[in-house]
């Protein structure tokens, strides 16, 4: 009886702990800062290297989603070192400036978006992705990773993103946002 009671209590405690961890979303795990709806099946290597058998649109989609992960990591850790892996041109310039500005402000950002990308245009070395995504990103403390702001609602953003094929890697070159 005593053993059974202890076992039951231990099990209950374990279940609660698992629930708490699940609710917390992984806490400060640097790999979980970006909550994108399509971020689970991303390549782990820099860039989206075309692979045999994969269609170009799939490559573009994968590169685009990987771009979000790299971007999210950069603003989460205030580390711009990997931005060039998936960005080039004006978009890279803006991302570098953004990380620099955040550092200057003493704040970091947790990117929380639900992407809905559609590849609408593909040429030999250029592709365009239309993405109407929901954004609930917010500022965090760069050291503790605790939220500095916690928006109650989100916003819908519609971006059109141009990717360029650079040395066999699809990189985000620029984007344009539909004016609200």
């Amino acid at each position: 009886m005593e053993t059974q009671a202890r076992l039951a209590l231990t099990s209950a405690l374990l279940v609660v702990c698992i629930m708490l961890v699940a609710c917390d979303g992984g806490g400060d795990d640097a790999n979980s800062q970006s909550s994108t709806s399509t971020s689970t099946a991303l390549p782990t290597t820099p860039g989206a290297t075309p692979t045999a058998g994969a269609s170009v649109k799939d490559e573009v989609s994968a590169a685009y989603l990987h771009y979000w992960n790299v971007y999210a990591n950069a603003v989460y850790n205030l580390d711009p070192s990997r931005l060039g892996d998936l960005m080039t041109g004006p978009r890279l310039d803006r991302a570098l400036a953004e990380v620099r500005d955040l550092k200057h402000q003493g704040r970091a950002v947790k990117i929380v978006v639900e992407n809905r990308p559609v590849v609408v245009h593909v040429e030999d070395t250029r592709a365009v992705v239309s993405d109407e995504y929901e954004n609930r990103s917010h500022f965090i403390d760069p050291d503790t990773k605790q939220p500095l702001t916690s928006p109650s609602g989100g916003e819908v953003i519609h971006d059109q993103v141009t990717l360029a094929l650079v040395d066999g890697i699809w990189k985000v070159f620029d984007s344009v946002r539909e004016a609200q």
């Binding site: 060039g84 310039d93 953004e98 620099r100 990103s137 939220p147 609602g153 916003e155 984007s175 539909e178």
Partner: protein, 299 residues
């Protein structure tokens, strides 16, 4: 009994811990419920479409960022993007079956419009929805600052800084006489319209003001409204006033004032004129008026 006591203690600890954890998670949401979200890529260019009688304008707004070059992340300092050399074209979007699903999803969100692509010389590419009945010859692309350009605001600023001539009030005679009509007129400005224009981000705003009417105040409590600036001597001016008393009791001179009300209008890129709030300008001069004295003599 022993197990029961331990179980109760653990149960209480568990519940307290659970509540504390949930409160800790919920606190930021409660405390800062009105915080705005952080918008990713805050310096992203924007694109919008505006229709008017003059056609369709696709506006690409570029944000000023404190960017350095991509090769030197450590560089700092603000630089405005140089879009002066951008050359952009727009055309109706063409695509195969691969974009059909996207079109089917997007079209209901843009009733009465079809997708166009915009391409610029720097590699910029965007898709916008342009009214179906737009004449392709009247669809233009304008690149400028991201902050929306409000032609009305630009026009108002232009109007307020227009170089209105330094008007003076002339009179005949130079020294007025009681009971003798004095003639007044505006000197230094013939009343013709005054124009100015400014171009910002490909938007040219032209402003024009013209005198609408003149409000005269002769300094003795008498006023007069005219649509004429008066006529210079020797012509007979239609702005006349006969003083009933000298200016001796008014400190030696009467302050004659004319307030000119200018109607204002503006147009954008040579289009139709649109009304703008009128402005007024005031000008004043001192005007002495004397009383003639009669002298009787034996002769």
């Amino acid at each position: 009994m022993k197990v029961s006591a331990l179980g109760k203690q653990l149960y209480v600890l568990l519940v307290v811990g659970l509540i504390t954890s949930l409160l800790a998670l919920a606190t930021p949401l409660i405390a800062d419920a009105d915080d705005p979200v952080y918008t990713p890529d805050p310096g992203s260019p924007t694109i919008s479409v505006k229709s008017s009688n003059d056609g369709v304008t696709i506006y690409i707004g570029i944000t000023n960022t404190s960017s350095g070059s991509s090769g030197d992340p450590s560089s700092s300092g603000g630089t405005a993007p140089d879009y002066s050399g951008w050359s952009c074209t727009a055309s109706m979007m063409t695509g195969g079956l691969d974009v059909l699903a996207w079109l089917m999803a997007e079209a209901p969100l843009h009733p009465g419009a079809v997708p166009w692509t915009v391409q610029c010389s720097d590699g910029f590419f965007g898709v916008v929805w342009v009214p179906t009945d737009a004449d392709p010859a009247n669809v233009k692309v304008v690149v400028g600052p991201a902050d929306p350009i409000d032609p009305g605001t630009i026009a108002a600023e232009l109007r307020d800084h227009l170089p209105v001539p330094d008007v003076t009030i002339s009179a005949n005679p130079n020294v007025g006489l009681v009971a003798l009509p004095s003639w007044f007129w505006v000197d230094g400005y013939d009343g013709s319209p005054i124009r100015a224009l400014d171009t910002l981000g490909g938007v040219t705003v032209e402003v024009e003001i013209a005198p609408q009417h003149y409000s005269w105040s002769f300094g003795d409590g008498t006023t007069l409204e005219t649509t004429s600036p008066g006529r210079p001597y020797p012509a007979v001016s239609d702005v006349r006033h006969a003083y009933a008393q000298s200016s001796l009791g008014a400190g030696g001179v009467f302050a004659v004032t004319v307030e000119v009300r200018f109607s204002a209008r503006y147009r954008v890129n040579g289009g139709a004129w649109q009304s703008l709030n009128a402005i007024t300008r005031s000008f004043t001069r001192d005007y002495p008026v004397q009383q003639l004295q009669s002298v009787l003599t034996n002769n």
